[in-house]
C-alpha cells in the first residue's frame, strides 16, 4: 500500500515535470499562437492587443503557474484556435483514441502470446520459420504505409469497411467499433510481431537455464509446474515491452488517425501543436502522460508480484 502511494506521488511529480517541459519547449520553438490566430491579416497593433488579451506578454513562469492552478481547479482553459472549452473538446475525443489503443493492445496480446509460445516450443518448424519471415516483413513496413495497404485490402478490395467512413461513437457504437477494428489492427500488427520475437527469444533462453536443463535431463519435459516457472521468468521482459508498446500505440495513433481520417486525440494534438494552441496541447499531454505513467506503474507492480526479488522496500 505504501509502495503504491509512493508510486502515485512520484507519478504526479513526473506529470508536473512534463507540463513544465512542454511549457518551456513551446517558448523555444518558432511560431506564435497570436500570429496563428490572426493569420495573414495580422497587423502589429492587433497582434499586440491579442497578446495582451491572452496574457501572452507575461513571463513564462507566471503563465505556467496561472495555467497550473487553473488546471488544478479543473479549468483547462479555452482553445486558442477553436475558442471552445478545452475540457469538453478533449473529453469528446478521449474515447476514440482510448478505444483504438485498448483494441490494439488486446489484438496484440491475442496474436503474440500463443504464437510466441508455440514458436519457441517448435523452433525451426515450418510455422516457426514462416512466422519469423512474416514478422520481419511486417516489422519493416512503416505504420502509415501499412495503414494505406490495410485500407486498400479491407476497404477497397474486400469491401469490409468504408475507407474514410468514420462513424462517431455517439451516433452508432457498433459501426464505430467495426470501423476502429482496422486502424487498431494497423497499430497492433507491428507491435505483435515484436512481442512474438521477444517472447520467443526470452522463452528459448529460459530453456537453457540450469534448472530447466536439469529438469529436462530428468525427463520432466511436460511438467506443468516447470513450465509455469519458465513462463513467469520469461514474461518479465515481455511485460516491459507490452508497457512500452501501449505507450507507442498512443503515440502511433497520431499517424494512424491521419491515415484513417479518425478524429481522435492524436489528430487534435498534432493540429494543436502546429496551431501553437497551448491549452489544448498541455491538456492532451497531461492525459497521455498520465495514461503512460499509470501503465508503467502497473508494470512495476506486476513485476514485483511476479518476481519478489525485485522490490525497492529493502
Amino acid at each position: 500500500m505504501r509502495y503504491a502511494l509512493k508510486k502515485f506521488v512520484t507519478m504526479v511529480i513526473t506529470i508536473i515535470m512534463v507540463t513544465l517541459f512542454v511549457f518551456l519547449a513551446f517558448n523555444l520553438i518558432s511560431g506564435d499562437p497570436v500570429i496563428s490566430i490572426l493569420g495573414t491579416d495580422a497587423t502589429p497593433e492587433r497582434v499586440e492587443a491579442l497578446r495582451r488579451e491572452l496574457h501572452l506578454d507575461d513571463p513564462v513562469i507566471l503563465r505556467y503557474f496561472r495555467w497550473f492552478f487553473n488546471f488544478m481547479r479543473g479549468d483547462m482553459g479555452v482553445s486558442y484556435s477553436y475558442k471552445i472549452n478545452v475540457r469538453s473538446m478533449i473529453l469528446e475525443k478521449v474515447p476514440v483514441t482510448a478505444t483504438m489503443a485498448i483494441m490494439a493492445f488486446f489484438l496484440m496480446i491475442i496474436i503474440a502470446i500463443p504464437l510466441g509460445i508455440h514458436t519457441s516450443k517448435h523452433q525451426g518448424s515450418a510455422l516457426d520459420r514462416t512466422v519469423i519471415i512474416l514478422n520481419q516483413i511486417i516489422m519493416s513496413i512503416p505504420p502509415f504505409f501499412s495503414g494505406i495497404l490495410l485500407t486498400f485490402i479491407f476497404g477497397r478490395v474486400l469491401k469490409l469497411f468504408t475507407p474514410g467512413g468514420y462513424v462517431s461513437y455517439q451516433k452508432d457504437f457498433g459501426s464505430f467499433l467495426w470501423y476502429m477494428f482496422f486502424p487498431s489492427l494497423a497499430i497492433a500488427l507491428p507491435k505483435a510481431t515484436m512481442a512474438i520475437k521477444l517472447l520467443r527469444g526470452s522463452l528459448i533462453s529460459e530453456y537453457n537455464m540450469d534448472y530447466v536443463r536439469t529438469a529436462y535431463s530428468k525427463g520432466n519435459s511436460t511438467n506443468g509446474v516447470l513450465y509455469g516457472h519458465m513462463l513467469k521468468n520469461a514474461i518479465l521482459p515481455v511485460i516491459t515491452f507490452l508497457g512500452m508498446a501501449l505507450t507507442d500505440m498512443i503515440a502511433g495513433s497520431i499517424i494512424v488517425e491521419q491515415v484513417f481520417s479518425i478524429p481522435g486525440l492524436g489528430r487534435i494534438l498534432l493540429t494543436s501543436i502546429s496551431n501553437r494552441d497551448y491549452p489544448v496541447v498541455l491538456a492532451i499531454i497531461v492525459i497521455i502522460s498520465a495514461m503512460v505513467l499509470l501503465v508503467n506503474m502497473l508494470i512495476d507492480i506486476i513485476y514485483s508480484l511476479i518476481d519478489p526479488r525485485i522490490s525497492f522496500e529493502e
Partner: protein
C-alpha cells in the same frame, strides 16, 4: 451529320421530358432530407466569428452562413443581398444602402438597421490603431436614415463596394465565436473538432433566387489527401474541392472532375532586403532561369495559367497576359546578368516552403533544379505552416519562399497594396519609389479607366523590376459525385453550397 445532331437533340429532349414526367414536379421534394458530404483538407481551426476569421479555409465555408449588404456572384460581380438597392455618390464618398424589410436571422429575429450598423461599425472600430478590416480605416461615419444605411468615407474610393460583403450579424449574439448566427442560405448545425462541420438549409431565407437546395451539408475533415480517392470511391465523400491531380486521375465514371483555377499568385517570393536579392539584376537572372511551363509540367501535368506579375486572370481587366513574356527562359542572359551583378559563379540561398502545400514543395524542387543551371544553388527548407506565418510572413526572416498569395476581395488593391514600401503586409520588403507613386495614383483616381491604367503600371513595375519570380495561377480540380450537380467556381476563396442540387 446534321441528322445525327437532330437525333441526339431529340433524344435529349425525350429524356428531359421523361425525367420530368417520372419525377413529376418532385425536384424540390426530393431535396428535402438530402445531404452531401464535402471533404476539406483542414478543419475549421478558427473562430466562427465572420469578422475574426483568419484562415481562407474557414472563410470559404462560412460564406454559406453569412450574408452581407452585397454578395459576390461567380462572375465576380456584386449584387444587392441584404439591401434591395445601393447608390454610390459621384464623388465616391457616400454609399447609401436601402435595406430589405422582413429579413430574418437564423435565430428567427429580424435583421434591423441597428444590426447592420453594429456589424459595420464592429469592423471599422480600431483595435489598437487599426480596424478589424484594414480597408475600413477609410470609413468616416455610418448612419441610419429610416430604412437606409449610409456609409461615409474619408477619401474617395470607387472600389469600396467590394468591402460591403462584410457579414451582417445580430448585435445580441452572446457567443459569436462558437455559435455563428447570420442571415445566409445555410445555418450552423454542429461541429466536432477534426471530425466535421455541419450546416443545414435555412428555410426562412429571404432570397428565393439564391436559396439552398440540398438540406444538409457535412464538411468532413480528410486525414490523408494523398489517398483520398479511396474515400471518394467508397462514398464517404461526395464532393472534394482542390483534389490532388494524382487522386483525381483514379476516380471512375461516378465522378466528374471540374477544372478551375485556385485564384492565387504563385511565385518564388524573394526577400528584397536580403543580399543579393536587393540587386534587381540578380532577381531578373532568377526570372530568366525559371521556366513556369516546366513547373506546370511537373506539378500539374501542364495545367495552370502562367502569370508575370501579382495579378491573376480572374481579375479580368487588370490581368496583363503580356507580362508573361517579360522574361522568357534564357540561361545565357541569366548568367550574363549574374556576372554583371558580381556573381559570375553564382551563389547559394534557401527556399523556405510550408511543408503542407505539396504543390509549393514540388515547385521549389523544380525551381532549384532550374537555378542549378545558372550556377545558383537553392536549398529547400520545409517548415510548418505556423512557423511560416510567424517567421517568414510576420517576422520576414527568410531568403525566399514559394507560396500562393490570394486576394481577400476582388479589388486590385487587395493584391497590389502589399508591395507599397511601408505596407505592413509587405513581407518581401519590396521598396520602389515609382511603385509607391503609381499605387497612390491608382487609389486616388476616380475614373475607372485612369485607375486601371495606374494599377497596370504597378503590375508592369513589379514585373520589370522582378520583385518576385512569378510562376502561375495553380489549376484547381474539384471532384463531384454525379449524384450532385451545380458546383460553381468563384474568383475568390468561396465554396457556395447553395448552388448545389441533386442531379435528376
Amino acid at each position: 451529320m446534321k441528322k445525327t445532331t437532330q437525333k441526339v437533340l431529340l433524344l435529349f429532349a425525350l429524356i428531359a421530358v421523361m425525367s420530368v414526367a417520372l419525377c413529376g414536379c418532385a425536384g424540390d421534394k426530393n431535396e428535402a432530407g438530402s445531404s452531401i458530404t464535402v471533404g476539406i483538407p483542414q478543419d475549421l481551426e478558427d473562430s466562427l466569428d465572420p469578422h475574426k476569421v483568419a484562415a481562407a479555409g474557414t472563410r470559404e465555408v462560412l460564406f454559406n452562413i453569412f450574408d452581407g449588404l452585397v454578395k459576390v456572384d461567380p462572375n465576380g460581380d456584386y449584387y444587392p443581398a441584404l439591401c434591395s438597392k445601393y447608390e454610390i455618390s459621384d464623388d465616391a464618398l457616400t454609399y447609401t444602402f436601402t435595406l430589405r424589410k422582413g429579413v430574418k436571422f437564423h435565430d428567427g429575429t429580424l435583421v434591423t438597421p441597428e444590426d447592420v450598423k453594429y456589424s459595420i461599425d464592429r469592423c471599422s472600430v480600431a483595435v489598437g490603431d487599426a480596424p478589424l478590416v484594414a480597408a475600413y480605416s477609410n470609413v468616416k461615419s455610418t448612419s441610419i436614415d429610416d430604412d437606409k444605411f449610409i456609409v461615409t468615407l474619408n477619401e474617395p474610393d470607387t472600389e469600396f463596394l467590394a468591402y460591403m460583403t462584410t457579414a451582417i450579424i445580430p448585435e445580441d449574439n452572446p457567443e459569436p465565436d462558437t455559435n455563428p448566427i447570420g442571415a445566409g442560405p445555410y445555418k450552423f448545425e454542429s461541429r466536432s473538432p477534426q471530425e466535421n462541420f455541419v450546416i443545414k438549409k435555412f428555410d426562412d431565407y429571404y432570397d428565393d433566387e439564391h436559396e439552398a437546395h440540398i438540406e444538409t451539408v457535412i464538411f468532413k475533415v480528410v486525414g490523408n489527401m494523398d489517398t483520398v480517392a479511396m474515400e471518394l470511391q467508397s462514398g464517404a465523400i461526395d464532393l472534394l474541392p482542390r483534389i490532388p491531380l494524382s487522386q483525381a486521375e483514379l476516380l471512375d465514371d461516378n465522378f466528374t472532375v471540374l477544372e478551375g483555377t485556385m485564384n492565387l499568385v504563385q511565385a518564388l517570393y524573394l526577400n528584397n532586403a536580403f543580399k543579393p536579392f536587393d540587386d534587381p539584376r540578380v532577381r531578373q537572372a532568377l526570372c530568366y532561369a525559371a521556366d513556369p511551363a516546366e513547373v506546370m509540367q511537373f506539378v500539374s501535368d501542364g495545367k495552370g495559367t502562367e502569370i508575370g506579375s501579382s495579378v491573376f486572370p480572374a481579375f479580368g481587366k487588370y490581368y496583363m497576359s503580356e507580362l508573361n513574356d517579360t522574361y522568357n527562359t534564357d540561361i545565357e542572359k541569366a548568367k550574363a546578368l549574374l556576372a554583371d551583378a558580381g556573381y559570375p559563379d553564382g551563389f547559394e540561398f534557401d527556399i523556405t516552403v510550408p511543408s503542407n502545400y505539396t504543390q509549393h514543395v514540388e515547385t521549389a524542387q523544380v525551381l532549384a533544379d532550374e537555378f542549378a543551371k545558372i550556377g545558383v544553388k537553392a536549398n529547400i527548407k520545409l517548415i510548418e505552416w505556423d512557423s511560416w506565418l510567424s517567421d517568414v510572413y510576420s517576422k520576414r526572416q527568410f531568403e525566399s519562399t514559394v507560396i500562393g498569395v490570394d486576394a481577400s476581395s476582388l479589388t486590385a488593391a487587395s493584391l497590389l497594396q502589399r508591395f507599397v514600401s511601408t505596407d505592413s503586409k509587405n513581407f518581401i520588403n519590396y521598396n520602389n519609389a515609382d511603385y509607391d507613386v503609381a499605387f497612390a495614383n491608382a487609389r486616388a483616381a476616380l475614373n475607372d479607366a485612369e485607375k486601371t491604367k495606374y494599377y497596370k503600371e504597378c503590375e508592369r513595375i513589379l514585373s520589370e523590376d522582378a520583385a518576385n519570380v512569378y510562376i502561375q495561377d495553380l489549376p484547381e480540380f474539384v471532384a463531384i459525385n454525379n449524384k450532385y450537380t451545380g458546383y460553381e467556381f468563384y474568383p475568390l476563396y468561396i465554396q457556395d453550397m447553395a448552388k448545389l442540387r441533386l442531379a435528376e
